[in-house]
Homo-oligomer: 131 residues x 2
DNA sequence: CTAAGACTTCAACAAATATTGAAGTCAAGC
DNA sequence: GCTTGACTTCAATATTTGTTGAAGTCTTAG
């Protein structure tokens, strides 16, 4: 069973495999590899081969983009992942992504709350000195 | 005092005013207006003039972009704002922005948590059928 | 071994989000 | 009423995030 896992983990994925698992186009998989979001080895014939976690990384990357991370930022965060990422490795990545996104969301919340609670703070804050 | 507010509220802002208040370049203010994020009236000489809330809207728009909203989405949401937005108007905008951003953040959280809690779910989920 | 299908690179295109510069017009203070 | 600085539009440029197509190579099932 452990043997099966190892065997499966080593079965290398093609661009198409990763694209399907990650829910993106093959061109996007190549784009992500070019920009360091995912990493590939090459066959003797120069074709990309990915490990089992690549599809997941693509999924996470897509969702991270939708909360405002750039591809560059995601690539930088994913640099920390070792070859065969373990749960604790993903825990660190997760913490960074979520904490950073929440920080930005809080900034937005603060800004809209300022106007929700005191429209006059925003609309009329110079009015007080005008009289 | 009410008179002062009205007078102040009607003092129209130039592109530069809004840019400074919103913390962006004048070119960005024109861009936002072209794309419906903010609304302008024109002087007899064709220059843009904004009302008092434009600077705030720019601030909120910038922060919304950083949590993943596109300019188009922000423009659509801001369409709902009446001419002189009141606190309850901002409350609706706020709810939409925050709720939508939180929904996306939750999707990301779910995805990374799946890997954090069960790396094997992601890496080895076909392994079980391989033996 | 071969044919089909997937892969490679490279260049062109595209949409979103702006910025910059040119050429000309407006507004405001003196 | 003139001058100066800010404004106008338009076109070009830049970056990000990809997609598409051409021309050619690799892999693999049969």
């Amino acid at each position: 069973m452990t043997t099966t896992q190892i065997v499966e983990a080593k079965r290398l994925r093609t661009v198409r495999d990763v694209a399907e698992e990650g829910g993106v186009a093959p061109s996007a998989v190549r784009f992500y590899e070019q920009h360091g979001v995912i990493t590939a080895v090459r066959t003797s014939g120069n074709q990309r081969r990915f490990d089992a976690s690549a599809g997941c990384q693509v999924k996470v990357a897509k969702l991270a983009q939708r909360v405002g991370f750039t591809v560059r930022e995601i690539a930088e965060i994913f640099q920390e992942l070792p070859e065969n990422p373990q749960p604790q490795d993903w825990a660190r990545i997760s913490d960074q992504l979520i904490a950073s996104a929440e920080r930005r969301l809080k900034e937005l919340t603060r800004a809209v709350d300022a106007m929700r609670a005191g429209g006059r703070l925003c609309e009329l804050n110079e009015a007080l000195t005008a009289e």
